[in-house]
Subunit: 123 residues, 2 copies
DNA sequence: CTGGAATTACGATGTTCCTCGTACAATGAA
DNA sequence: TTCATTGTACGAGGAACATCGTAATTCCAG
Protein backbone atom coordinates (compact mmCIF):
# COMPACT_ATOMS: atom_id res chain seq x y z
CA UNK A 1 0.00 0.00 0.00
CA UNK A 2 1.78 3.16 -1.13
CA UNK A 3 0.86 5.61 1.58
CA UNK A 4 3.77 7.80 0.59
CA UNK A 5 3.29 10.73 -1.72
CA UNK A 6 3.64 9.55 -5.29
CA UNK A 7 7.06 10.20 -6.73
CA UNK A 8 7.43 13.07 -9.16
CA UNK A 9 7.49 10.80 -12.13
CA UNK A 10 4.22 9.13 -11.31
CA UNK A 11 1.44 10.57 -13.39
CA UNK A 12 -1.26 9.96 -10.87
CA UNK A 13 -3.79 11.78 -12.99
CA UNK A 14 -3.73 9.08 -15.60
CA UNK A 15 -4.70 6.37 -13.17
CA UNK A 16 -4.76 3.13 -15.00
CA UNK A 17 -8.39 2.18 -15.34
CA UNK A 18 -8.23 -1.55 -15.44
CA UNK A 19 -10.52 -3.24 -17.91
CA UNK A 20 -10.78 -6.97 -18.38
CA UNK A 21 -9.63 -8.19 -21.77
CA UNK A 22 -12.35 -9.43 -24.01
CA UNK A 23 -11.37 -13.06 -23.54
CA UNK A 24 -11.55 -12.70 -19.78
CA UNK A 25 -15.13 -11.52 -19.67
CA UNK A 26 -17.41 -14.12 -18.10
CA UNK A 27 -21.12 -14.54 -18.65
CA UNK A 28 -21.94 -15.00 -14.99
CA UNK A 29 -20.10 -11.80 -14.15
CA UNK A 30 -21.83 -9.84 -16.87
CA UNK A 31 -25.18 -11.07 -15.62
CA UNK A 32 -24.25 -10.16 -12.10
CA UNK A 33 -23.29 -6.68 -13.21
CA UNK A 34 -26.66 -6.32 -14.92
CA UNK A 35 -28.61 -7.78 -12.02
CA UNK A 36 -29.03 -4.50 -10.20
CA UNK A 37 -31.67 -1.88 -10.92
CA UNK A 38 -29.21 1.01 -10.73
CA UNK A 39 -26.73 -0.59 -13.06
CA UNK A 40 -29.47 -1.69 -15.41
CA UNK A 41 -30.55 1.91 -15.58
CA UNK A 42 -27.02 2.99 -16.41
CA UNK A 43 -26.76 0.46 -19.18
CA UNK A 44 -30.08 1.50 -20.63
CA UNK A 45 -29.04 5.12 -20.70
CA UNK A 46 -25.75 4.29 -22.35
CA UNK A 47 -27.43 2.12 -24.93
CA UNK A 48 -29.98 4.80 -25.73
CA UNK A 49 -27.35 7.49 -25.99
CA UNK A 50 -25.21 5.71 -28.58
CA UNK A 51 -22.24 7.70 -27.31
CA UNK A 52 -20.07 8.14 -24.31
CA UNK A 53 -21.76 9.67 -21.32
CA UNK A 54 -20.37 11.49 -18.38
CA UNK A 55 -21.15 9.93 -15.03
CA UNK A 56 -23.01 13.09 -14.12
CA UNK A 57 -25.20 12.74 -17.20
CA UNK A 58 -26.69 9.59 -15.80
CA UNK A 59 -28.71 10.60 -12.83
CA UNK A 60 -29.02 7.98 -10.16
CA UNK A 61 -30.89 8.36 -6.90
CA UNK A 62 -27.87 7.38 -4.87
CA UNK A 63 -24.84 9.13 -3.48
CA UNK A 64 -21.80 9.89 -5.59
CA UNK A 65 -19.69 7.25 -3.97
CA UNK A 66 -22.34 4.66 -4.60
CA UNK A 67 -22.46 5.85 -8.16
CA UNK A 68 -18.73 5.34 -8.48
CA UNK A 69 -19.15 1.87 -7.06
CA UNK A 70 -21.74 0.84 -9.64
CA UNK A 71 -19.72 2.18 -12.52
CA UNK A 72 -16.73 0.26 -11.27
CA UNK A 73 -18.70 -2.97 -11.09
CA UNK A 74 -19.84 -2.46 -14.66
CA UNK A 75 -16.30 -1.77 -15.79
CA UNK A 76 -14.63 -4.60 -13.87
CA UNK A 77 -17.11 -7.09 -15.25
CA UNK A 78 -16.57 -5.99 -18.81
CA UNK A 79 -19.85 -4.22 -19.49
CA UNK A 80 -18.62 -0.67 -19.94
CA UNK A 81 -15.43 1.11 -20.88
CA UNK A 82 -14.31 4.15 -18.96
CA UNK A 83 -11.85 6.78 -20.09
CA UNK A 84 -10.84 10.15 -18.80
CA UNK A 85 -11.74 13.21 -20.83
CA UNK A 86 -10.25 16.15 -19.02
CA UNK A 87 -11.91 16.46 -15.67
CA UNK A 88 -14.67 14.08 -16.54
CA UNK A 89 -14.80 10.37 -17.00
CA UNK A 90 -16.71 9.08 -19.94
CA UNK A 91 -18.57 5.80 -20.07
CA UNK A 92 -19.56 3.68 -23.00
CA UNK A 93 -20.95 0.23 -23.49
CA UNK A 94 -18.45 -2.35 -24.72
CA UNK A 95 -20.83 -3.21 -27.48
CA UNK A 96 -18.30 -4.80 -29.82
CA UNK A 97 -16.76 -7.06 -27.22
CA UNK A 98 -20.06 -8.13 -25.77
CA UNK A 99 -21.54 -8.75 -29.18
CA UNK A 100 -18.57 -10.85 -30.15
CA UNK A 101 -18.74 -12.92 -26.99
CA UNK A 102 -22.47 -13.17 -26.42
CA UNK A 103 -24.29 -12.13 -29.58
CA UNK A 104 -27.71 -10.75 -28.88
CA UNK A 105 -27.41 -10.96 -25.13
CA UNK A 106 -27.27 -7.27 -24.34
CA UNK A 107 -29.99 -6.47 -26.83
CA UNK A 108 -32.15 -9.12 -25.24
CA UNK A 109 -31.62 -7.70 -21.79
CA UNK A 110 -32.29 -4.18 -22.99
CA UNK A 111 -35.46 -5.23 -24.74
CA UNK A 112 -36.59 -7.06 -21.61
CA UNK A 113 -35.89 -3.95 -19.57
CA UNK A 114 -37.95 -1.82 -21.95
CA UNK A 115 -40.85 -4.21 -21.81
CA UNK A 116 -40.79 -4.34 -18.05
CA UNK A 117 -40.57 -0.57 -17.80
CA UNK A 118 -43.57 -0.22 -20.09
CA UNK A 119 -45.46 -2.83 -18.17
CA UNK A 120 -44.78 -1.26 -14.79
CA UNK A 121 -44.98 2.32 -15.93
CA UNK A 122 -41.55 3.01 -14.54
CA UNK A 123 -38.35 4.19 -16.00
CA UNK B 1 -43.65 -20.44 13.69
CA UNK B 2 -45.67 -23.65 14.13
CA UNK B 3 -43.42 -25.80 16.25
CA UNK B 4 -46.39 -27.83 17.29
CA UNK B 5 -47.29 -31.00 15.49
CA UNK B 6 -49.40 -30.15 12.48
CA UNK B 7 -53.08 -30.74 13.03
CA UNK B 8 -54.61 -33.74 11.36
CA UNK B 9 -56.14 -31.65 8.62
CA UNK B 10 -52.87 -30.07 7.59
CA UNK B 11 -51.37 -31.85 4.64
CA UNK B 12 -47.79 -31.08 5.45
CA UNK B 13 -46.59 -33.26 2.66
CA UNK B 14 -47.95 -30.88 0.11
CA UNK B 15 -45.94 -27.98 1.43
CA UNK B 16 -46.93 -24.95 -0.48
CA UNK B 17 -43.99 -24.24 -2.70
CA UNK B 18 -44.28 -20.54 -3.20
CA UNK B 19 -43.81 -19.32 -6.69
CA UNK B 20 -44.01 -15.71 -7.74
CA UNK B 21 -46.87 -14.93 -10.05
CA UNK B 22 -45.88 -14.12 -13.58
CA UNK B 23 -46.58 -10.43 -13.15
CA UNK B 24 -44.36 -10.28 -10.10
CA UNK B 25 -41.25 -11.59 -11.79
CA UNK B 26 -38.60 -8.90 -12.09
CA UNK B 27 -35.85 -8.72 -14.64
CA UNK B 28 -33.15 -7.80 -12.15
CA UNK B 29 -34.08 -10.78 -10.02
CA UNK B 30 -34.06 -13.17 -12.94
CA UNK B 31 -30.63 -11.92 -13.92
CA UNK B 32 -29.45 -12.31 -10.37
CA UNK B 33 -30.71 -15.87 -10.30
CA UNK B 34 -28.82 -16.58 -13.51
CA UNK B 35 -25.66 -14.84 -12.38
CA UNK B 36 -24.17 -17.85 -10.66
CA UNK B 37 -22.26 -20.65 -12.34
CA UNK B 38 -24.10 -23.38 -10.44
CA UNK B 39 -27.50 -22.00 -11.21
CA UNK B 40 -26.55 -21.34 -14.80
CA UNK B 41 -25.61 -24.98 -15.05
CA UNK B 42 -28.97 -26.03 -13.66
CA UNK B 43 -30.82 -23.87 -16.14
CA UNK B 44 -28.80 -25.23 -19.03
CA UNK B 45 -29.58 -28.78 -18.02
CA UNK B 46 -33.25 -28.04 -17.68
CA UNK B 47 -33.35 -26.31 -21.03
CA UNK B 48 -31.57 -29.18 -22.73
CA UNK B 49 -33.81 -31.77 -21.12
CA UNK B 50 -37.08 -30.25 -22.32
CA UNK B 51 -38.78 -31.94 -19.37
CA UNK B 52 -38.93 -31.89 -15.66
CA UNK B 53 -35.83 -33.09 -13.90
CA UNK B 54 -35.31 -34.43 -10.47
CA UNK B 55 -32.87 -32.51 -8.33
CA UNK B 56 -30.70 -35.60 -8.22
CA UNK B 57 -30.54 -35.70 -12.01
CA UNK B 58 -28.66 -32.45 -12.08
CA UNK B 59 -25.29 -33.12 -10.60
CA UNK B 60 -23.66 -30.18 -8.92
CA UNK B 61 -20.28 -30.20 -7.20
CA UNK B 62 -21.72 -28.85 -3.97
CA UNK B 63 -23.42 -30.28 -0.95
CA UNK B 64 -27.05 -31.23 -1.03
CA UNK B 65 -28.10 -28.36 1.18
CA UNK B 66 -26.33 -25.92 -1.09
CA UNK B 67 -28.10 -27.56 -3.98
CA UNK B 68 -31.41 -26.95 -2.28
CA UNK B 69 -30.45 -23.35 -1.78
CA UNK B 70 -29.75 -22.77 -5.46
CA UNK B 71 -32.95 -24.39 -6.57
CA UNK B 72 -34.85 -22.22 -4.18
CA UNK B 73 -33.22 -19.06 -5.52
CA UNK B 74 -34.20 -20.09 -9.02
CA UNK B 75 -37.75 -20.77 -7.93
CA UNK B 76 -38.22 -17.65 -5.82
CA UNK B 77 -37.00 -15.47 -8.64
CA UNK B 78 -39.37 -17.01 -11.13
CA UNK B 79 -36.93 -18.99 -13.26
CA UNK B 80 -38.07 -22.51 -12.47
CA UNK B 81 -41.17 -24.25 -11.27
CA UNK B 82 -40.95 -26.96 -8.64
CA UNK B 83 -43.54 -29.56 -7.89
CA UNK B 84 -43.60 -32.69 -5.83
CA UNK B 85 -43.90 -36.02 -7.57
CA UNK B 86 -44.10 -38.58 -4.85
CA UNK B 87 -40.86 -38.57 -2.95
CA UNK B 88 -39.03 -36.49 -5.47
CA UNK B 89 -39.25 -32.89 -6.43
CA UNK B 90 -39.28 -32.07 -10.08
CA UNK B 91 -37.92 -28.94 -11.65
CA UNK B 92 -38.78 -27.26 -14.89
CA UNK B 93 -38.04 -23.96 -16.54
CA UNK B 94 -40.90 -21.48 -16.52
CA UNK B 95 -40.46 -21.11 -20.23
CA UNK B 96 -43.89 -19.75 -20.99
CA UNK B 97 -43.86 -17.10 -18.31
CA UNK B 98 -40.36 -15.98 -19.08
CA UNK B 99 -41.02 -15.89 -22.79
CA UNK B 100 -44.13 -13.81 -22.24
CA UNK B 101 -42.33 -11.35 -20.01
CA UNK B 102 -38.92 -11.18 -21.63
CA UNK B 103 -39.08 -12.72 -25.09
CA UNK B 104 -35.78 -14.13 -26.21
CA UNK B 105 -33.99 -13.42 -22.97
CA UNK B 106 -33.51 -16.95 -21.72
CA UNK B 107 -32.58 -18.19 -25.16
CA UNK B 108 -30.02 -15.44 -25.41
CA UNK B 109 -28.51 -16.34 -22.07
CA UNK B 110 -28.47 -20.02 -22.95
CA UNK B 111 -26.81 -19.35 -26.27
CA UNK B 112 -24.24 -17.16 -24.57
CA UNK B 113 -23.57 -19.92 -22.07
CA UNK B 114 -23.07 -22.43 -24.87
CA UNK B 115 -20.66 -20.17 -26.68
CA UNK B 116 -18.65 -19.54 -23.57
CA UNK B 117 -18.55 -23.21 -22.73
CA UNK B 118 -17.28 -24.00 -26.20
CA UNK B 119 -14.74 -21.23 -26.01
CA UNK B 120 -13.41 -22.30 -22.64
CA UNK B 121 -13.74 -26.00 -23.21
CA UNK B 122 -15.79 -26.38 -20.08
CA UNK B 123 -19.20 -27.63 -19.35
C1' DC C 1 -45.46 -50.04 11.31
C1' DT C 2 -40.66 -49.85 10.24
C1' DG C 3 -36.93 -48.81 7.20
C1' DG C 4 -34.81 -46.43 3.42
C1' DA C 5 -34.33 -42.82 0.11
C1' DA C 6 -34.82 -38.01 -1.14
C1' DT C 7 -34.93 -33.51 0.21
C1' DT C 8 -35.52 -29.63 3.43
C1' DA C 9 -34.84 -26.93 7.62
C1' DC C 10 -31.89 -24.99 10.76
C1' DG C 11 -27.96 -22.87 12.50
C1' DA C 12 -23.33 -21.23 11.76
C1' DT C 13 -19.53 -19.05 9.27
C1' DG C 14 -17.13 -16.31 6.31
C1' DT C 15 -17.65 -13.43 2.26
C1' DT C 16 -19.53 -10.21 -0.72
C1' DC C 17 -22.65 -6.50 -1.62
C1' DC C 18 -25.09 -1.81 -1.34
C1' DT C 19 -25.14 2.21 0.81
C1' DC C 20 -23.45 6.24 2.99
C1' DG C 21 -20.43 10.26 4.70
C1' DT C 22 -16.20 12.47 4.78
C1' DA C 23 -11.83 13.54 3.16
C1' DC C 24 -8.81 13.68 -0.78
C1' DA C 25 -7.03 14.08 -5.75
C1' DA C 26 -7.09 15.80 -10.49
C1' DT C 27 -8.47 18.89 -14.11
C1' DG C 28 -9.87 23.28 -16.35
C1' DA C 29 -11.00 28.11 -15.75
C1' DA C 30 -10.56 32.71 -13.66
C1' DT D 1 -2.40 30.24 -7.86
C1' DT D 2 -6.90 29.72 -6.38
C1' DC D 3 -11.50 27.98 -7.09
C1' DA D 4 -15.15 25.07 -8.68
C1' DT D 5 -16.22 20.70 -10.67
C1' DT D 6 -15.82 15.96 -10.82
C1' DG D 7 -14.79 11.83 -9.30
C1' DT D 8 -12.01 8.53 -5.93
C1' DA D 9 -10.46 6.40 -1.60
C1' DC D 10 -11.50 4.85 2.71
C1' DG D 11 -14.04 3.20 6.42
C1' DA D 12 -18.20 1.55 8.31
C1' DG D 13 -22.86 -0.45 8.91
C1' DG D 14 -26.26 -3.57 7.66
C1' DA D 15 -28.08 -6.90 4.50
C1' DA D 16 -27.68 -10.69 1.50
C1' DC D 17 -25.21 -14.64 -0.15
C1' DA D 18 -22.74 -19.32 -0.63
C1' DT D 19 -21.43 -22.94 1.73
C1' DC D 20 -21.43 -26.58 5.02
C1' DG D 21 -22.96 -30.30 8.53
C1' DT D 22 -26.48 -32.20 11.14
C1' DA D 23 -31.16 -33.10 12.31
C1' DA D 24 -35.73 -33.51 10.80
C1' DT D 25 -39.43 -34.35 7.43
C1' DT D 26 -41.84 -36.74 3.85
C1' DC D 27 -43.04 -40.47 0.94
C1' DC D 28 -42.86 -45.24 -0.81
C1' DA D 29 -42.00 -50.13 -0.11
C1' DG D 30 -41.82 -54.18 2.63
Amino acid sequence: MPTETPSAGTVTGARALEHPRREDIRLAEVLHALADPMRLRVVRRLAAAHTELNCADIELPVSRSTCTHHFRVLRENGVIQQIYRGTAKMNALRTEDLEALFPGLIDGVLRAAELQADRLGED
